[in-house]
C-alpha cells in the first residue's frame, strides 16, 4: 500500500511530457537541436517560433511521424518509444493538425471512429461514439451534429471534430498546431473556452502558434523556439509580447507598424456595384461599392471565403465580373477582352495574390525568372527586340533581391527553395518596383516570419507614403488594424460596414465579420 501511494505521488509530480535532448536532422539541416522541455500536467503550454524554427518537426516526433536522431521522450515520467502514430495514440497523445485530417465525405461519427473501431463491424462503435459525443458536447461545449457530413461543417466545427477524435481515443495530452489560423475571433474564443474546460479536467494541452496574442491569452507557460533550438521557457504571466517576439527573432522587433497619418489625395480606384460569380455560378461578390484614394491603405477584413478572394481577383484581372470599376477615372474592362492581368499591369495595377505559391510564382522556376514574370515583355529584358536577355534579367533580379533583402540573394535558386517570407519578398520586389498606382495585396504575411512581416509592412506603408493606393485583404485582424487607414468588413459577398481603425476594436470587427450589424455597437 505504502509503495503504491509513493508511486502515485511521483506520477502526479511527473510532467505529462518531458523531452530530453531531442535532436533531428534532415540531411544537413538541423531541424531540432538538443531540445529539452517539461510540460506540467493540467496546464496549457505554448510553443512559439518563426516558420522553420522546428516547432512542427518537434511535434511530428511526439506524434510518431519522425523518429528523433537522439533524445528521450517521457510521458508521465515513463520513458516511451513513439515509432508511429499508433504508439502516440496509445501513449494518450492526440493531435489537431493545422490542416485537418478528416474525410470530407464521411459523417462526424464515421470520422471519429475511423482507426479506433471496437471490432470488425461498425454498428457497436458508432453507437458508442454517438453516446460519448453527446457527453462531450455537454461537458465541454463541443457540440457537433454527429450525422452531419464533414464537408458541410464550418471550419470551426471541423476543428471540433478533430478534438473529438482525440478525446474519443482517450487522449489526455492534446497538441494543437496553429489552431486559430482559420477561425473567426468568436470561434477562437469558443475554442479557448473548450481548451480551458479540458484543462480543468486535468488534460494537458500544447498549442503551437505564431500568434503572440493567443499565447498571452490562453497559455500558462510558453517555450520559444529559434532555429531548431529551444531558446527559453517562461511563465506567461511573467512575460510580454515584446519579449517573446525578441526571443523568437533574436533581436528587437517592432510589433506595431510604424506609420504616420495618411495623407489621402485624389481618388485612384472607384468600384460601383461589383458582382462576381464563381465557376458554379454562385454569386460570391454581391454588389460592392468602395473607393481608395492616393496615399491610403484600405483594409478588407473578413473570414476567409466571404468574397474577398474574388474581389481582389477581379480587380487584378484574373476573374471576370460585372459592375463598374474606375481606375484614375477611366473604366476598367471587367468581362471583355481586356479583362486580364496583363492589361491591368499596363494600367498600373500591381497584384500580390493571396495564393502566392500558385498565382504569385512558379515554385519550380528560378528566382530570376520569377522576378520577371508578368513583365517578360519589358524591352529591358530583351535583345534585338526578340531574344530574351538573360544577363540583363539576372542583373535586374540580383538588384531587386538585394533591395528587398531576399535571403539568400541567389537568383538561380528555385522558388521553392526560399522560405515563405522570402518568396513573398520576391513577389513584392517584382510588383512594387514597377511603381504601380494601385497595389492589390492579399494575405501579405500568411506563413511569413515575424522578422519578414515587419519588412513587408514597412514596404507597403512606404508605397502608400509615395502617394499610391493600396487594397489590403487579410484574415489577420491584427494586420488589418495596424496597417489600414480605413477598414471595410466583408461578409457573404457584401461590405458590412466601414470603420476607422483608431475608433474600432477587434470585438466590433469580429461581429461585423460574423454578419452582425448592430449600429449601436459602433
Amino acid at each position: 500500500m505504502q509503495g503504491e501511494t509513493t508511486t502515485g505521488r511521483q506520477e502526479t509530480a511527473a510532467p505529462a511530457i518531458e523531452l530530453r535532448g531531442i535532436s533531428k536532422a534532415f540531411g544537413s539541416v538541423q531541424a531540432n537541436k538538443d531540445i529539452s522541455i517539461k510540460v506540467a500536467r493540467g496546464t496549457i503550454h505554448g510553443i512559439i517560433g518563426e516558420n522553420g524554427a522546428g516547432k512542427s518537426t518537434l511535434m511530428s516526433i511526439l506524434y510518431g511521424f519522425y523518429r528523433a536522431d537522439a533524445g528521450e521522450i517521457l510521458i508521465h515520467g515513463t520513458p516511451t518509444q513513439i515509432p508511429d502514430s499508433q504508439a502516440a495514440i496509445r501513449a494518450g497523445i492526440g493531435m489537431v493538425f493545422q490542416h485537418f485530417k478528416l474525410v470530407n465525405t464521411f459523417t462526424v461519427l464515421e470520422n471519429v471512429i475511423l482507426g479506433a473501431e471496437d471490432g470488425p463491424l461498425l454498428r457497436p462503435s458508432l453507437a458508442k461514439a454517438r453516446k460519448l459525443l453527446g457527453d462531450l458536447a455537454r461537458d465541454y461545449e463541443l457540440d457537433v451534429d454527429p450525422d452531419a457530413l464533414v464537408e458541410d461543417l464550418s471550419v470551426g466545427h471541423q476543428q471540433r471534430v478533430e478534438i473529438l477524435k482525440a478525446l474519443y481515443r482517450q487522449a489526455d495530452i492534446l497538441i494543437l498546431d496553429e489552431p486559430t489560423g482559420v477561425l473567426t475571433p468568436d470561434e477562437a474564443d469558443h475554442l479557448f473556452r473548450i481548451l480551458r474546460g479540458l484543462k480543468e479536467q486535468g488534460k494537458t494541452i500544447i498549442i503551437i502558434t505564431h500568434k503572440l496574442r493567443e499565447i498571452m491569452e490562453i497559455t500558462d507557460t510558453v517555450s520559444v523556439m529559434r532555429r531548431g533550438q529551444m531558446t527559453a521557457t517562461v511563465k506567461t504571466a511573467g512575460t510580454s509580447p515584446e519579449e517573446l517576439a525578441e526571443l523568437m527573432v533574436g533581436r528587437k522587433v517592432l510589433l506595431d507598424v510604424a506609420k504616420g497619418p495618411a495623407n489621402p489625395g485624389r481618388t485612384i480606384l472607384e468600384v460601383r456595384d461589383l458582382r462576381v460569380r464563381d465557376e458554379n455560378g454562385v454569386e460570391r461578390v454581391k454588389g460592392i461599392d468602395l473607393h481608395i484614394r492616393a496615399g491610403e491603405i484600405l483594409g478588407i477584413a473578413g473570414v476567409a471565403g466571404n468574397g474577398q478572394s474574388e474581389l481582389i481577383k477581379v480587380l487584378g484581372g484574373i476573374k471576370k465580373g460585372t459592375g463598374s470599376v474606375l481606375l484614375n477615372g477611366a473604366p476598367l474592362d471587367l468581362s471583355g477582352r481586356a479583362a486580364d492581368a496583363e492589361s491591368r499591369r499596363e494600367k498600373g495595377v500591381a497584384h500580390v495574390p493571396e495564393d502566392r505559391q500558385h498565382l504569385g510564382m512558379i515554385l519550380d522556376f528560378t528566382a530570376w525568372e520569377n522576378l520577371a514574370f508578368g513583365y517578360q515583355g519589358d524591352p529591358a529584358y530583351h535583345r534585338n527586340g526578340f531574344l530574351m536577355d538573360n544577363d540583363a534579367m539576372m542583373k535586374d533580379a540580383l538588384g531587386k533581391m538585394e533591395r528587398f533583402d531576399v535571403r539568400p540573394p541567389i537568383p538561380t535558386l528555385q522558388g521553392k527553395s526560399f522560405s515563405g517570407g522570402n518568396q513573398q519578398k520576391i513577389i513584392l520586389a517584382r510588383e512594387l518596383e514597377r511603381n504601380p498606382d494601385l497595389l492589390l495585396v492579399g494575405q501579405p504575411t500568411r506563413g511569413v516570419d515575424i522578422g519578414a512581416i515587419e519588412f513587408i509592412h514597412k514596404r507597403i506603408v512606404e508605397l502608400r507614403d509615395a502617394g499610391k493606393a493600396v487594397l489590403l485583404v487579410s484574415v489577420e485582424l491584427d494586420e488589418i488594424l495596424s496597417m489600414s487607414d480605413r477598414i471595410a468588413v466583408m461578409f457573404d459577398g457584401r461590405i458590412m460596414g466601414e470603420r476607422d481603425p483608431d475608433q474600432t476594436n477587434e470585438r466590433e470587427l469580429g461581429l461585423l465579420m460574423a454578419g452582425v450589424t448592430n449600429e449601436t455597437a459602433a
Binding site: 502514430s85 495514440i89 493531435m95 493538425f97
Partner: protein, 322 residues
C-alpha cells in the same frame, strides 16, 4: 418483340454482364482505396489464359479458375508495387501491364499448345456448366414469372451467381464493416487514416489484392464460362467497359450492378441486330451499339446526370507530409 425473344436477350444480358460486373467491382475496390487501375483488361486476359491452360491440363475448371486468380494477382501486385511502394504513375503502370498481358498471353499459349495463341477447347468438367436452380422446371408453367425464372434467372454458371452475390457483399463490406470504413477513407484522404495510426500501404495492398481476385474470376468466366477456351485478346475491351461502368456507377456497388447490366444489355442487343430492326424498324449498325457504353460514360463525365464523385485521393501516391 415477343416475350420469348425478350427472355433470350435478358438471358444473354446476364451472361455478358457477368464479366463486366466482376471487373467493375474489382475496379471499385482498387479505386475506392485511391489506386486507379486501368489494367483490369490485362488482368482479365492473363486470368483467362491461365484458366484455359490449367483447366485443360487438369480437367477441373475450379483448379483452372484458381490459376486464373493467381495470374491476375501477380499483375495486381506488380501494379501495387509500382503505385503504392514506389509511388509511380498509376495510369502508366496500368497501361504497361495491359501491353504485357496482351503479349505474354499469346506467347505462352502459343509456346504451350502451338494453336496460334489459343488454348485447346474445353469441355465437360473443364468448363463452368449451367446450374439449374430449384423448381425451374416445375414453375415453368406459371405465367410470365415462370419462364422468366427458368430462362433468365436459372441455368447460368456458378460465377454468374457469384458475381451477383458480390454486389450486396461489397456494399455490406464497404458500409457496415471497419475494413470498409478504412478503405473508403484511404481513397478520400489517406492522411486521415495515417494519422489515425492505420497503415495506408497495407490497406491499399489489400484492396489491390481483392481487385486481383475479382479480375481473376472475370477472366476465368471469360475462358471457361462464356467461351470454351482462351483466345487472343478475348476480353475485347471489357476491362475498359468495366471502368466506364464504374464511372457510370459513381463508384457505388448497387449502381455498378445497374451500369453493368445496362452495358450487358447493349452487348446482348448488338448480338441480335435483327431484333432491333424488327422492333423499331430502323437498322442500327452494330458498332454504334458497341460504342454506347463509352458514349453514355462521356455523357456522365460531362455532368449531365449528376456530378461524378470519384474518390478524391485517387491516382495520387501517398507521401507523408511533415
Amino acid at each position: 418483340m415477343d416475350y420469348a425473344t425478350l427472355l433470350q436477350i435478358l438471358d444473354s444480358t446476364l451472361r455478358l454482364a457477368t464479366p463486366l460486373l466482376l471487373a467493375c467491382l474489382a475496379g471499385l475496390y482498387s479505386e475506392r482505396s485511391g489506386i486507379f487501375d486501368i489494367g483490369l483488361e490485362g488482368k482479365m486476359l492473363v486470368a483467362a489464359m491461365a484458366t484455359g491452360a490449367v483447366a485443360f491440363y487438369s480437367g477441373n475448371v475450379w483448379i483452372g479458375a484458381l490459376a486464373g486468380i493467381g495470374a491476375s494477382m501477380i499483375l495486381a501486385l506488380v501494379h501495387g508495387l509500382a503505385s503504392i511502394t514506389f509511388r509511380g504513375n498509376q495510369l502508366i503502370s496500368g497501361v504497361a501491364l495491359n501491353f504485357v498481358a496482351s503479349g505474354i498471353t499469346v506467347l505462352i499459349a502459343q509456346a504451350m499448345f502451338g494453336q496460334g495463341g489459343r488454348t485447346p477447347p474445353l469441355d465437360g468438367a473443364a468448363r463452368f456448366n449451367p446450374i439449374t436452380l430449384p423448381f425451374a422446371d416445375s414453375l415453368a408453367s406459371v405465367p410470365f414469372v415462370g419462364p422468366l425464372y427458368r430462362e433468365v434467372i436459372s441455368g447460368h454458371t456458378a460465377l454468374v451467381y457469384v458475381a451477383l452475390a458480390a454486389v450486396p457483399l461489397t456494399w455490406w463490406l464497404l458500409y457496415r464493416t471497419r475494413y470498409g470504413l478504412r478503405l473508403r477513407a484511404v481513397g478520400e484522404n489517406p492522411a486521415s487514416v495515417d494519422t489515425a495510426g492505420v497503415s495506408v500501404t497495407r490497406l491499399r495492398y489489400s484492396a489491390v489484392a481483392i481487385t486481383g481476385i475479382l479480375c481473376g474470376l472475370a477472366g476465368a468466366y471469360m475462358a471457361a464460362g462464356l467461351q470454351a477456351g482462351f483466345g487472343r485478346e478475348m476480353t475485347a475491351g471489357r476491362g475498359y467497359i468495366a471502368l466506364a461502368a464504374l464511372i457510370f456507377a459513381n463508384w457505388l456497388p448497387w449502381r455498378a450492378l445497374g451500369a453493368t447490366m445496362l452495358f450487358g444489355f447493349l452487348q446482348a442487343l448488338a448480338l441480335r441486330p435483327d431484333v432491333i430492326e424488327r422492333t423499331i424498324h430502323v437498322s442500327i449498325p452494330v458498332p454504334a451499339l458497341d460504342a454506347m457504353p463509352y458514349v453514355l460514360t462521356i455523357i456522365v463525365l460531362f455532368g449531365f446526370v449528376g456530378k461524378p464523385q470519384p474518390p478524391r485521393a485517387g491516382g495520387e501516391p501517398y507521401i507523408k507530409e511533415r
